[in-house]
Symmetry: D2
Amino acid sequence: MIRVGIVGATGYTAVELLKILLRHPEVTVTAITSRDPESPHLSEVHPILRDQLNLNFSLLDIPKFCQQVDVAFCCLPHAASAAIVGQLVDAGVKVIDFSADYRLNDVETFQQWYGVEHPDSQRVGNVAYGIPELFRSAIRSSDVVANPGCFPSSALIPLAPLLKADLIQTAPIIVDSKTGISGAGRKTNLKFHYPECNESISAYGIGTHRHMPEIDQIIKRFCNVDIQTVFTPHLTPMDRGILSTIYVQSKGKASASDIMDCWADFYEDEKFIRVSPDLVATKNVSGTNFCDITARHCRGTIVIVSALDNLIKGASGAAVQNFNVMHGLDDTVGML
Amino acid sequence: MIRVGIVGATGYTAVELLKILLRHPEVTVTAITSRDPESPHLSEVHPILRDQLNLNFSLLDIPKFCQQVDVAFCCLPHAASAAIVGQLVDAGVKVIDFSADYRLNDVETFQQWYGVEHPDSQRVGNVAYGIPELFRSAIRSSDVVANPGCFPSSALIPLAPLLKADLIQTAPIIVDSKTGISGAGRKTNLKFHYPECNESISAYGIGTHRHMPEIDQIIKRFCNVDIQTVFTPHLTPMDRGILSTIYVQSKGKASASDIMDCWADFYEDEKFIRVSPDLVATKNVSGTNFCDITARHCRGTIVIVSALDNLIKGASGAAVQNFNVMHGLDDTVGML
Amino acid sequence: MIRVGIVGATGYTAVELLKILLRHPEVTVTAITSRDPESPHLSEVHPILRDQLNLNFSLLDIPKFCQQVDVAFCCLPHAASAAIVGQLVDAGVKVIDFSADYRLNDVETFQQWYGVEHPDSQRVGNVAYGIPELFRSAIRSSDVVANPGCFPSSALIPLAPLLKADLIQTAPIIVDSKTGISGAGRKTNLKFHYPECNESISAYGIGTHRHMPEIDQIIKRFCNVDIQTVFTPHLTPMDRGILSTIYVQSKGKASASDIMDCWADFYEDEKFIRVSPDLVATKNVSGTNFCDITARHCRGTIVIVSALDNLIKGASGAAVQNFNVMHGLDDTVGML
Amino acid sequence: MIRVGIVGATGYTAVELLKILLRHPEVTVTAITSRDPESPHLSEVHPILRDQLNLNFSLLDIPKFCQQVDVAFCCLPHAASAAIVGQLVDAGVKVIDFSADYRLNDVETFQQWYGVEHPDSQRVGNVAYGIPELFRSAIRSSDVVANPGCFPSSALIPLAPLLKADLIQTAPIIVDSKTGISGAGRKTNLKFHYPECNESISAYGIGTHRHMPEIDQIIKRFCNVDIQTVFTPHLTPMDRGILSTIYVQSKGKASASDIMDCWADFYEDEKFIRVSPDLVATKNVSGTNFCDITARHCRGTIVIVSALDNLIKGASGAAVQNFNVMHGLDDTVGML
């Protein structure tokens, strides 16, 4: 059994991660940490897990933690994560990092968009980006994997094969994304107070969302062109799910069905990417690690729609999938 | 025109109050206060009112405020309200108070349930309770009215006529209430964070909710017996609305239709109480000042169901109705 | 008092229309029709209106109806509406038609997109399109007004002034719209069964939605160029509201604030169009006749966001506004 | 591997059942039937299962079906189910029946409440009632199990041990239940059209719901007294979950903590019943086979709150648990 610990295990991604890990046949969860010095009981923080795991929260004590675990899932905020990842790796612990700290190619872009000094800058640019369907071999040989952002996953999965196959133009690429409110995390904020966001849809962070440069940088690896995605996230009154509607121009008259054929080939062996002839919906992937994708043609524009569960394929499911790849297991262990 | 001010105008009851007052033909809103020293623009706090009222928030300056207004709606928390109501009244301003400060009969009960010293204890017990359908004449001649709690309104409106007519027994009275999340107010709290309460229903405050003694004390006026209501509120995943399912035992074989007849008589001239042969639903009163009530018989028990909008008939609509009664206007002015 | 009838008054637009008309000081509602031969009571069909209107449904008897009313709001499906509008007009009744029958410029486009013969083809192309902010003078002198589609309203209000002022390019224009489920009407369909669409967002009708040619044709009047909008509607888990996120390219380096200035000028005297510096949300217009609009710049693309209530500004509020304009009343009568 | 078939596999319980069975290590799903002669693809009916099961719907052909399966889960409506269960059993197929056909003790009560002739009356009264925590030994030796109703499960699990231990009085027992909309099944009906039931809570079927006699009859087995439960179900705007708030009178001064101790003893070895010191919520059991229960004391009344997922512990999870018990497997196989 592989001993697993979760650093910063009080949020929504952590509870989904625990649900998956508790079913995973190769894993035993041996430590969960929180920055709350009161060490609350697991069932107070995550009542859905009552009686499922005989473990309470403790403060992170790095040397002790490194003795307890073989692999760490880090669910800390950006910068807080990079401040400890190095120490874990040096102690021989493999890390799957949920923060944005190792997703970008370079420290400058990180510091520009996140507005803080990077605490572990020499590692930036050398960490595998955790979409196994796109970067499996790099992930397989890694000690640290940067778990991808939820919005980038929903954009990169459909776009990467098309740019690689030169089926679409590199500009303009418009990504209009709609997310459930759990995407905002578990910290209270008036914006996410139930009566503020229920029965309402709104755009936010137009041109300023940090997932925009992440999409740009990762996508460039498939076309070798600087990409300037136009990315608009929207807050949708539902718990979970991301639907991204992506507008691109085809190259050389590629039709919607050429697009779908390209995906069918590229993702032929992938269990978690489903190319759907029907229009996709977040409900059809809710609670699963699937990403459903489809395409339509409208007056010269290719309209791509992708759907995933922001907490699973957009976070904890992807993390376990990365864990599986890092350990030579089938991607689907613990999830199908 | 009657000049009206709102003290503590940043919450959900205040925005509903403003929406009604802006349509009220006899009212001009002349002041709105907030305890935020930044004096935010109205449209930042209540974007639905953008461009509708040329007024921004100011800190409460009692002498100045009393020169600006004839009537004050106080939307402050308990104790904070009673600390200023006296001063407003002494300056000749009429007050409709949304807090619990003047609802109970005696200071002891207030202090026991609210856990604070009452700042204006001599007035307690002498203030009209603001359900016009039950206490119109007292309200008409009052300078201060205690606007009722949302749950008590949903229980008292159906129960009072039945107890007065001696149609039901005084024990047990079980009030099982379901409220939308706006009932919790506009302060952030993890419990009301969207992903915590969406797609979930739960009971809270069983045996400890402060609206329980309020129901007991007001209802006693109709039967002269000490009542011990068993009251269970539930948090329901919707913005607004209260549905109360009330279980009582009939006296002298009163049937469900006797109950409905009693209401039809008692509320014959009331525009806002609708006795419904059909089962009621919160949606059918949403955004209105109606309270819909119905009754059924089940195996010897009378099951009463009442529905109202917690922000309107349960708060701001009732307040304007009280305002109308205090000024000799028809109850419905500004609302129908 | 102007006598008003509603033809096909059982749906969601009709109940919102009735709510507004019951508050309208110049209107008395004298007839409501339904195609249900059982003539149900109003309170069975629209329980929120219980006791508010002493009128029940009847089958449409055109001669009788024309004696009862001065103005008809027709809420029938397409083609069914045009089959009777002519008769009403010939009898001297003014008509505000909610269907799509008179919105398009020509019969061919109608028949191509709606797949039926037009029952009143000679009138097509000669009917005022009912956005008063864009076509006030035509509406003022009309006997029949085509009430606009909800999605087109959300696109045309922001786009028309910009095209007229030559601030944006005529292609590409991408309209990514999100609507609440009431937009689908009140007929049952598995797609709109609560557990199917709750907690889910999905795109539908990509490239095939009938509001697309409507946007194209109306918008052309402001730029004299054939427009080919790329329009993607989405079903959002909420009752009401439309948010349209619109992607256009500026011309001559117009910035987001140039866009906002253009709107501020164009809509200076309009009470129902609010140009907002803040990002807009459907909740902030819910239950109102407002359309809130804003713009942002993102990497060369202008991102416009508009919000309206599909049942009010997108249907019944617009209809009453048209009614007001047709009768020389201020636009806002009955609504502010 | 045990070969399993699902009869009537197009609804919400069937899709949840399939999700569990696909993870179940001892099961292979070999047939799914539908009464739709078009034999739709699984992914059209249940898009969340796209690519997960290489099987399409067929019409039920009993002899063929009995060769394909060892065990049948019958998800047909009442009466339709009993019309075929006998044939399946006679052919050696074990049956877990989701309908109400075999839940009641006698044919008279069935016919009175369901209003139809029972098609397999001689079996009524001889079928194990499928709550393993209460009737494990009967289930273990059965060929047919009557899967319990969702509301009865939420009432019987907390009540049975208390009646057996003589801790509470047998009257009055008031069960105030709140259910998500999936409880209404997947057939369209205006009542469950999204805009009708969203943002609304309402009571229905007071005194007439068919789960009321089911509670009465099953509960009698624990106290040998005729019970007349007062049962009020409510429709709650959420997909799934049942919360039952149950009001009983204690006997011999049993306190809330005596109640909780009784449960803790009775359910000591049960993995799916969680006695919670905290107040329970449907969200904390959503997607799981848990039933969470708690109790509070309020003015002489014991207030019990139970929470379960109506589609899992209230239907398909219970069914798989019954399946496990019938086959000598641990209750939790496939579910934890």
